[in-house]
Amino acid sequence: MKKPDPLQVNAHGDREIVITRHFNAPRELVFDAWTTPDLVVQWFGPPDWKVTTCEMDARAGGGYRFVMEHDSGARMGITGRFREVERPYRMVSTEIFDEDWTGGETLITNELEERNGRTIMTMTILYGSTEARDMVMTSPMAQGMELGFGRLDDVLETTAL
């Protein structure tokens, strides 16, 4: 099997991040992996976090709720509302973390394109402000609570930037 292409991340405009990733599967399958709770719990979540609750009503006007737990016992929750759900090629939702470490709601547009049986996923995250976009990945949440795990080097590097 061909090795999947690496993840691409780009900043767009003042408030957007665009993430592109190829998957060795038809887009129906990728779409279902994003919208079926039994499947979502098997892969979704930042490093060292596990999805323990996943509720999903995948249609326009519907919503979702994830709760994730870290080995340390820390929890975080995400609540989202779907604006558009077009199987198998497009999902648009607004979402917010319980702890709101993204500086307000984010608008997430997830588009799936299929080429020769492979899927190209393009996920665009629109933040509420430039500061939110630029600072979100330095939060302890995004770094998988590294603060609590002695990975001080990364934290120091972040602070020194």
Partner: protein, 122 residues
């Protein structure tokens, strides 16, 4: 400038294809504005305008070397922008690798079910 403003200046400067091309050329050595303008179908003032944006973002510096004032690429803002993007990769890539395995499993299951269904028909 704080980190957010610096990143903003870097990404804004990199958003233009001519400016990316200028940086790509400077990556292999310092060049004067004239030398830079040569391969582009652009006037020297137009190139100078792009250079100003790159200078403001700290991506290019101009040293005083008599009349020449060569342009020099500064790698630090690019490194900073890359480190920042790296955090996003670090956040998402492990999830997507799990998704890769899940998709592979689902597909082999589907193939298996298909073979079984065909077998029953016979």
């Amino acid at each position: 400038m704080n980190i957010s403003e610096r990143l903003d200046a870097t990404f804004a400067a990199l958003a233009d294809p001519t400016r990316r091309a200028i940086l790509a050329r400077l990556a292999s050595g310092d060049l004067s504005v004239n030398e830079l303008a040569e391969p582009f179908d652009m006037s020297q003032p137009a190139i100078s305008k792009h250079l100003k944006v790159l200078e403001r973002a700290g991506l290019v510096s101009r040293t005083v070397d008599g009349q020449r004032r060569p342009c020099h690429m500064e790698p630090k803002p690019l490194e900073e922008a890359n480190r920042w993007l790296e955090k996003y990769r670090h956040y998402w890539e492990p999830s997507f690798q799990r998704l890769d395995s899940l998709l592979e499993g689902l597909q082999s299951k589907a193939v298996h079910a298909n073979v079984q269904a065909k077998g029953k028909k016979r």
